[in-house]
Structure formats: structure tokens, C-alpha cells
């Protein structure tokens, strides 16, 4: 019964939504609309999935790969730098005092606001978007890591000191493992932000899913392509989240979450 519902409920909700949408978008309610019907979007995919002469893969696939590539690099760079810096700011009260003001000031600036600077600094499309994604993911990772470290129960730190741990071993064996569940939680959020930001960053570029949306407008207001691309963006974003959620199941991480059921 439960499993049956799990399939049936979303399936019937989707069917209902598509029927209503088709009815409304095709002008069935009396008012004319520019919004594409589901059928038009499906037809639009035929256009998006064409392989241009002399190219190896369909247009859509090329742009998906470009966006995923940038997001991956920007996000990984943010992880590789954000976690160590976060550990340091969380661990050292002096470092926190010295630098927290800067973090707090830079953090609320939307990564989008860095696009003009990224354009000035980097000439290629790639690094430009990678930098913007890096900034978007770096601050949440940094701030959550530092907060996670500062909320480690004193007892763990004392026990570790008691057994003679200091410096790097203390970080590796106690501070990082103790903070890991909270860090992973925010990695998921940061990856979602990265994926949101890549679309914006690519709107001023020459390829990628963000560019594809802007381009569809210039091709004679092809809203079918716009909405079609938006659906692809949503599905991939969901996929990224599902993938990262698997990290939470790892025993080195899952211990930190309350047991459900």
C-alpha cells in the first residue's frame, strides 16, 4: 500500500498538473497566452537535441556538460579552500577575531555582483563562471565549517588533549570528524547555490545552460526552449542533491544526525 502510494500520488499529481497546464496554455480558459504547452516543450526538445553538422553531441548535451564542468570546478575549489580556512577560523579564537568581520561583510554580497569583476579579471568564459561559483559556494562552506568547529563539545577537545593530541593530528582526528556532519549538510546547500548561480553567470557568457536560455529569447522568443531548458536545470539540480545526500549516509557522517524511525 505504502509503496503503491509513493508511485501513484506523484504520478497522478503530475498528470493533473500537465492536463491543467495544457488547457490553460492552449488558451482553453479564454485568455490567449504565450506560455508554451507541454507538447510544444516536447517538440522544442527535438530542436535542443539536434546535433549540428560537424559536432559530436547534441546542443543541449554540450551546454549541460559546460555548466556541470564549471559548477564542479568552482564548487570543488570552494570545498578545498573553504573547509581548511573554516577549520582554522573556527579553531583559533585569534584568527576568528582578526578575520570574522571580513567574512561577515563579504558573505551577504550576492555572487552575481562579482560577475563584472570576474569579467575584468578573466578573459575566458570558463574561469569567469568558475570564479563566480567559487565565491557563491565558498562563504557558506567557510561559515558553516567555522560554526561547526566552534560548537564541538569541549569534552571531545579535552579528551583529545588528554591523550596528547595537538596541532594537525588534533584537526585530523577530532576537529574535522566532529564537525563533518554539519559540514556535509552545508555542502549540499552550497552545491545547490552553485547550480543556481552558474545559470546566472552563464547568461553573460557564450555557452552553458544559462546562455541557452538567453539565446532562446533572441531566437524569436522561443519560450518552449526557455521552459524546456529550465526543466532540465531543475532535474539536474535535483540529481546533484540526490547524489550529495548519499554522503549523509556514510557512517563517518550519519552519526551526527538524529536517527529517524
Amino acid at each position: 500500500m505504502k509503496r503503491f502510494e509513493r508511485v501513484l500520488l506523484p504520478f497522478s499529481a503530475a498528470t493533473g498538473l500537465i492536463v491543467l497546464w495544457s488547457f490553460w496554455a492552449s488558451g482553453g480558459s479564454g485568455a490567449a497566452t504565450d506560455f508554451p504547452t507541454p507538447l510544444e516543450i516536447l517538440r522544442g526538445y527535438r530542436h535542443l537535441l539536434e546535433t549540428a553538422p560537424g559536432e559530436h553531441s547534441p546542443r543541449l548535451v554540450q551546454h549541460v556538460v559546460a555548466s556541470l564542468f564549471r559548477t564542479t570546478f568552482g564548487f570543488l575549489a570552494a570545498v578545498l579552500l573553504g573547509i581548511p580556512v573554516g577549520l582554522w577560523l573556527g579553531w583559533s579564537a585569534r584568527a576568528h577575531m582578526a578575520w570574522d568581520w571580513l567574512v561577515q561583510m563579504l558573505r551577504p554580497i550576492s555572487a552575481i555582483a562579482w560577475i563584472p569583476i570576474a569579467i575584468m579579471v578573466f578573459h575566458g568564459d570558463e574561469l569567469r563562471s568558475v570564479m563566480v561559483i567559487f565565491i557563491a559556494a565558498f562563504f557558506p562552506i567557510l561559515v558553516s565549517t567555522s560554526a561547526a568547529v566552534r560548537s564541538i563539545p569541549t569534552m571531545y577537545i579535552r579528551a583529545a588533549r588528554n591523550f596528547g593530541l595537538r596541532g594537525l593530528p588534533m584537526m585530523q582526528r577530532v576537529v574535522l570528524p566532529a564537525a563533518l556532519p554539519q559540514i556535509v549538510l552545508y555542502l549540499r546547500i552550497s552545491a545547490a547555490i552553485s547550480w543556481i548561480v552558474v545559470v546566472a553567470a552563464e547568461m553573460v557568457g557564450q555557452n552553458g545552460l544559462g546562455w541557452l536560455i538567453t539565446d532562446a529569447r533572441y531566437q524569436g522568443a522561443r519560450t518552449d526552449l526557455v521552459v524546456g531548458t529550465m526543466i532540465v536545470i531543475g532535474l539536474i539540480g535535483w540529481g546533484i542533491d540526490v547524489l550529495l545526500r548519499r554522503l549523509e549516509k556514510h557512517p563517518r557522517v550519519s552519526w551526527g544526525y538524529p536517527q529517524r524511525g
Partner: protein, 252 residues
């Protein structure tokens, strides 16, 4: 396993409260623990007994006074003197085996394995080697904490209400296990509790403290052979005396 003699001379400590006023937590504490002795710190909540233990463990510093261990001044935490916490002292991301092995990083692999296996057996954790703390009962977790501490073969154990989070049946069982381990290994133990029976069943001497500021009211010897039993005349006499010192009557 060796043991150490601890001397505490004129230790005082105060904290700055919100608003800036000073709160005296410990005032002029003076006592000595002989090597291999089991001493309980007994007193009401807020009498500074946990603070005193933290100072002896090297985690906090006293405002005044002197602490020496085997004649050497105390300087910071040391694996020769291990702290056992009331709760959460073991690492929840490590398995039972990994927790017990935690303090053994200076030893070679063979010796580490040997000690882990030994303490898993000695604390009755067999069959749970790969379990995470969350999968264990409170009593089992405290056994892991004990095993982890004893595995480094310390000279001194500082125990901060180690049984405080357990239900009363498990508590009694763990109490006898701790007593048996101590009788076998004879480390120096300083054990904080607010449970009169616990102190009476375990300690050679009981340091009774008063609250705000924490002072030593009296040091009571418990010259009863192990295993001790509730209700023996000597036991009851000392218990009456402790209740009087704590300002309690002996009827419920």
C-alpha cells in the same frame, strides 16, 4: 600500571559573572591523595568539585595555590592522568575498538591490538567491537570510556560523575566493576560524585565539600574492607556522619 601522589595546596578559583562581579568557586583547597588511593569528592551541586577536578586534570588553571604530582608541579593535561567524563566523552564517530585505541597512537600496531583486545575483554565489550557509541546503552558507553582511559595505563584517573547519566541498576553494576578494576590495578583515583552511597562503596577517603565558595568541610576515612555491603553497622555509622555533614537528616 603505576600510580601517583597528588598534592593540592591552597587552591582557589573564581569566575567573573555577567555584570562583572566575582564568584568564588573554590576557596583555599588543601588535601593530598596518596599513590594508589581512591578518593571521592562529595558535595552538593555547585560546590566546585567539577571545577577542582578540571584544574587537577590540567584543563583549567587555579587563581592561587599549588598542585604537584609526585613532587613535580602540574603543567597541563597528560596521558599519564586520564579524565573520564560523565557523558559524551567517547567519540561518537568512532567504533568501540577505535575509541579504545584512540590514546595509543604512540605504540606500535601489535601492542595497540593487544591492548584493545585486552580491554574489550576486561570491560565486557566483546561482540561490540565495531559498534558505534549510538548503538550502545549508557552503561556500555561508560565501559568504552573506561576502557579507553585504562588502555593508556594511566597513573591517575579523574572521574567526573562518570555514572551520573546511568539508571540506578546499571549504576550499581558499573560501581562494582570500577571498584573491582581499581582493586586489581591500583591506580590513583579521584572520583567526583554527589551520591553518598557511591562514595561510601568506592572510596578510601571522602572529601566532603560545602557550596559557594567550595571549601573542604571534612575528610572522612572509610576503613571498611572490600567488597562493601549496604547496611553493615560501620557503613551506616559513616553514612549518618556524611548526611550530617551535608546538612541532611537521616529520615526520608
Amino acid at each position: 600500571m603505576g600510580n601517583s601522589r597528588l598534592e593540592v595546596h591552597g587552591v582557589s578559583k573564581s569566575f567573573v559573572q555577567r555584570g562583572g562581579a566575582l564568584l568564588d568557586v573554590l576557596s583555599n583547597i588543601d588535601f593530598t591523595i596518596e599513590a594508589g588511593e581512591f578518593v571521592c569528592l562529595l558535595g552538593p551541586s555547585g560546590c566546585g568539585k567539577s571545577t577542582l577536578l578540571s584544574i587537577l586534570g590540567g584543563f583549567e588553571t587555579a587563581d592561587a595555590g599549588r598542585i604537584s604530582i609526585d613532587g613535580e608541579p602540574l603543567c597541563g593535561p597528560d596521558p599519564r592522568r586520564v579524565f573520564v567524563f560523565q557523558e559524551y566523552g567517547i567519540f561518537p564517530w568512532l567504533s568501540v575498538n577505535e575509541n579504545i585505541e584512540f590514546g595509543l597512537h604512540r605504540l606500535n600496531t601489535d601492542e595497540r591490538r593487544r591492548r584493545v583486545a585486552h580491554w574489550v575483554g576486561a570491560t565486557g565489550l566483546g561482540g561490540f567491537e565495531n559498534a558505534l557509541p549510538a548503538e550502545l546503552s549508557g552503561g556500555m558507553r561508560q565501559r568504552v570510556a573506561l576502557a579507553r582511559s585504562l588502555a593508556v595505563e594511566p597513573d591517575v584517573l579523574f572521574m567526573d560523575e562518570p555514572l551520573g547519566a546511568l539508571d540506578s541498576l546499571t549504576r550499581q553494576k558499573m560501581r562494582s566493576e570500577i571498584s573491582a578494576l581499581w582493586q586489581r590495578l591500583r591506580p590513583t583515583v579521584l572520583f567526583v560524585t554527589h551520591d553518598v552511597d557511591e562514595a561510601l562503596l568506592l572510596a578510601d577517603r571522602i572529601v566532603v565539600m560545602t557550596a559557594r565558595p567550595g571549601r573542604i568541610q571534612e575528610i572522612v576515612s572509610v576503613p571498611i574492607a572490600h567488597p562493601r555491603r549496604f547496611g553493615e553497622p560501620e557503613y551506616v555509622a559513616i553514612k549518618r556522619r556524611l548526611y550530617r555533614l551535608l546538612g541532611l537528616g537521616d529520615e526520608v
